[in-house]
């Protein structure tokens, strides 16, 4: 029986190869290494820690079921991330709000005190949020985001640009407000 210590020292590619061959212990080690980034991604997208963890579990369950279809062990990270985006998009489609009105956030002094990056992300529409998170948090290119989400490349570029601009406005407003309160 392979010890957990030995698996912990392995690089990711051999671990993935072992998991693809049916080694559940190796898959468990992969989950340990990747769970934080996938859960953080889901938290940024869903703005709900419990929902994010449930969606992250679905990602790893789907990954376990379809690991045999992975073409290369070195592509595991990007493949897992694409799976996570698919799980999020499936959740969104199944739980689409009845109206498509964009959320409007007016910056009141009380609100701006509480605002932070996650709250600022919550203030932008879901598709825009997804593109901004994938671009800035996951470091994906526009074409990679387009391939992962199914959105046209032009739409992705527009979402990332406008989303980043809105985030800057919201976060600058927060900093100014905090600064004014400290000065006053």
């Amino acid at each position: 029986m392979r010890s957990g210590l030995v698996l912990g020292e392995l690089a990711e590619a051999p671990l993935v190869a072992l998991a693809m061959a049916g080694d559940d212990t190796a898959y468990g080690e992969l989950v340990r290494r990747r769970q934080s980034s996938i859960r953080n991604l889901m938290r940024r997208l869903s703005r709900n820690a419990a929902l994010a963890d449930d969606l992250a579990q679905q990602v790893f369950l789907q990954a376990w079921r379809s690991l045999g279809g992975l073409k290369s062990a070195t592509a595991f990270g990007a493949w897992l991330r694409k799976l996570a985006v698919n799980v999020w998009l499936q959740y969104q489609r199944a739980n689409r709000p009845t109206s498509d009105v964009e959320p409007v956030l007016s910056i009141t002094p009380a609100l701006s005190e509480r605002i932070d990056l996650d709250a600022a992300l919550a203030a932008i529409p879901p598709d825009m949020r997804l593109c901004v998170v994938l671009a800035y948090s996951e470091g994906m290119s526009h074409s990679e985001i387009s391939a992962a989400t199914g959105l046209p490349l032009g739409t992705v570029k527009s979402h990332v640009l406008r989303g980043a601009s809105r985030l800057r406005v919201l976060l600058d407003s927060y900093e100014n407000d905090v600064g004014a309160r400290h000065a006053g």
Partner: protein, 106 residues
């Protein structure tokens, strides 16, 4: 490779990343995986059982039917099979089959 050139925003995102504890997430996932594996096993067991029962029930019927068809075919074709023409034709048919097999596997 990212396209964006906004280092402030990228720094903000990097700073907001927290390392989340593996437990109890990994334990809960292990339990769900175990349940899925058991469900998959029971599903396969059910399918195999149904197929076995269907085969066991169908075997007498299929056997009887096969015997009946073989008997009927023998009765109908007996005259032809034991005729001089059949005796002459059967080695020719065998040779033809052998020649086709040689041509296919060359």
């Amino acid at each position: 490779m990212p396209d964006e050139d906004n280092p402030d925003l990228r720094r903000l995102f990097a700073a907001a990343d927290v390392t989340l504890p593996a437990e109890p997430f990994v334990s809960e996932l292990a339990q769900r995986l175990g349940r899925q594996q058991r469900l998959r096993f029971y599903r396969r067991l059910c399918v195999a059982t149904v197929l076995l029962i269907a085969a066991a029930l169908a075997t007498p019927i299929v056997s009887l039917l096969s015997l009946e068809l073989a008997r009927a075919a023998t009765e109908q074709l007996a005259d032809l099979l034991v005729s001089p023409w059949a005796v002459a034709a059967s080695p020719l048919i065998g040779v033809l089959v052998l020649l086709r097999m040689r041509a296919r596997y060359r």
